[in-house]
């Protein structure tokens, strides 16, 4: 990465964000403020292969990806794409210290573990369905 990147164009009426800084590893909250995960990775539209010509179409963010895919960023390797838990970029309503979605958490895929533990362990212990008071 020794080559200096060209200065990015300032988007008209928009915000300029560094995806690494302002998107990756931020908490994702649903429309009610419930946590649904962390932005573990981003799925971009495929950029063209090889050296990009100056007038190449810039890739866009298609999905936020969360779940075990974070292990790829820690240890390397690659999860099969079929296993990604994706949130559509269009569902993102607000970018700040956390990313807020415009949809409820029921419309976001969450890994099987939470569901399985909730149903088979936690809900079976007396009081598991009640808010502590």
């Amino acid at each position: 990465m020794s080559r200096r990147l060209p200065t990015p164009p300032i988007p008209a009426g928009g915000r300029l964000l560094d995806a690494r800084l302002s998107l990756l590893d931020r908490q994702v909250l649903d429309v009610d403020g419930e946590p649904v995960g962390v932005v573990d990775d981003l799925e971009l539209s495929d950029p063209q292969a090889g050296v990009l010509p100056d007038d190449a179409v810039a890739p866009v963010v298609r999905h936020l990806v969360h779940g075990p895919v974070v292990l790829d960023r820690i240890t390397g390797g690659r999860h099969p794409r079929a296993h990604f838990e994706r949130i559509e970029w269009a569902a993102v309503a607000e970018i700040g210290p956390a990313l807020r979605l415009a949809v409820g958490s029921s419309r976001v895929p969450v890994g099987w573990l939470e569901d399985w533990l909730a149903r088979n362990v936690v809900a079976r212990i007396p009081g598991g369905r009640h808010v502590p008071r």
């Binding site: 820690i74 533990l117 936690v122």
Partner: protein, 408 residues
């Protein structure tokens, strides 16, 4: 009137909840060997936890983000995972020490062997986390923990030679101790006062209680008044040991020795009160460390967490905490001395401090998170000065632990 009551309650629970098994044991050990000559470390440590907790609470109140969310976001997954592994294991060690502390205190109260109390203590901790609301939990353990004021009462009843205590506070290494052990205990005391779980818990608690910018003044009061008064209790514990145990050459190696001066000064009644205070303080800290285990993991991975949800709505969070209690139980069941676990845990806490401190310091200065509530000039000066201190302590901790053989 209602508001005044809420403010008083906050300060009182901050005092009563300030001490845990690490503070109690370390201060007594230090008092019995060095008198008040390490009192300056308590002052330094308490001021440090004030700065640290205030920043973490402010970040949580303004941005709604708890400490480990911030750590993950600032350090990236790889560094944050290394941080998580260290913080989580040390927290588990502290959790083990606290559960052992409850059992030891109950043994003193009942003459039933502490190993029999351990499963009961762990189960009670779990039950409170499972069923009792956050406010009730904090207020009850904090208020009963205030009974530790009995240490201060005992110190006055002992009628110590204040001039001599003052002299100890000003003098440095006592003649019959090596500088290495002196500095080892300096690090241990600092780690006991400034334990990472306190910050995980404080910031996550701010989210549990739904703090906003409006609650900042209240939280600042709790920290700036409650913590220093809690620190005075630390000094009282060390003072009691300095007056009763030091002249007789008794080195504290068990909880009963910590309480010996109380029994001597105030008789049975005061002793009962203080034992109850120790049970409440260690129980409160066991709750806080158990919750911190869940908080750190949940915040790193973005799971749902918090006591304001039904457990079934935060299943991974609750299962994590159950697993941690079981592990702590298993460690204690081997018969390892809980006092020893405590002494080791405070030193490792000191070693791990920069891992949690630095990300909070950075974010407390980030206008994206904090808007106009970024650190002011004085808070920043204090925050950065303490980062220097924490770094030195952290680097020195493990070598001193090894060199002195845990202060022997």
């Amino acid at each position: 009137m209602k508001r005044l009551f809420a403010v008083a309650l906050g300060v009182l629970t901050a005092i009563g909840g300030f001490l845990d098994i690490g503070d109690i044991v370390t201060n007594a050990v230090v008092g019995s060997r060095f008198g008040w000559s390490l009192a300056w470390v308590v002052v330094l440590g308490v001021a440090g936890i004030c700065v640290f907790a205030h920043m973490a609470g402010k970040v949580a109140a303004v941005s709604g983000r708890a400490t480990f969310e911030v750590i993950r976001e600032r350090l990236g997954p790889r560094m944050a995972l290394a941080n998580l592994a260290a913080s989580f294991l040390i927290n588990l060690l502290t959790l083990t020490a606290e559960v052992g502390g409850i059992a030891l205190a109950l043994e003193l109260a009942s003459s039933v062997h502490y190993l029999l109390w351990i499963p009961i203590a762990a189960f009670a901790v779990w039950l409170v986390i499972w069923r009792v609301g956050f406010d009730v939990m904090e207020n009850v353990t904090g208020l009963v923990g205030l009974l530790l004021v009995g240490f201060a009462v005992a110190l006055f009843l002992l009628g110590p030679d204040w001039g001599q205590l003052g002299q100890q506070a000003l003098q440095q290494v006592p003649a019959d101790e090596s500088p290495a052990t002196y500095w080892f205990y300096a690090v241990a005391l600092f780690g006991a006062a400034l334990t990472p779980y306190e910050v995980f818990f404080f910031s996550s608690g701010a989210v549990e209680e739904g703090w906003t910018v409006k609650d900042l003044a209240h939280s600042r009061l709790n920290v700036l008044v409650g913590f220093p008064l809690g620190g005075l209790l630390s000094l009282a514990i060390a003072g009691c040991a300095a007056v009763v145990l030091l002249p007789r050459g008794i080195q504290v190696s068990s909880l009963s020795q910590v309480l010996l001066p109380v029994a001597e000064a105030g008789g049975r009644l005061l002793l009962v009160a203080v034992i109850l205070g120790v049970v409440a303080a260690t129980f409160g800290a066991a709750l806080e460390t158990t919750l911190s285990a869940g908080y750190t993991l949940a915040q790193f991975f973005g799971w749902t967490w918090g006591k304001f949800r039904a457990p079934a709505r935060a299943a991974r969070f609750h299962v994590t905490m159950m697993a941690c209690l079981v592990v702590g139980l298993g460690v204690l069941a081997t018969g390892v001395d809980p006092v020893m676990v405590t002494e080791v845990s405070v030193v490792f806490s000191a070693a791990a401090l920069p891992l949690t401190y630095l990300p909070i310091l950075i974010v407390a200065n980030d206008p994206d998170y904090m808007g106009r509530h970024v650190n002011g000039r004085w808070l920043n000066a204090a925050g950065q000065a303490y980062f220097g201190v924490i770094l030195v302590v952290s680097v020195a901790a493990i070598p001193l632990l090894v060199a002195t053989g845990v202060g022997r």
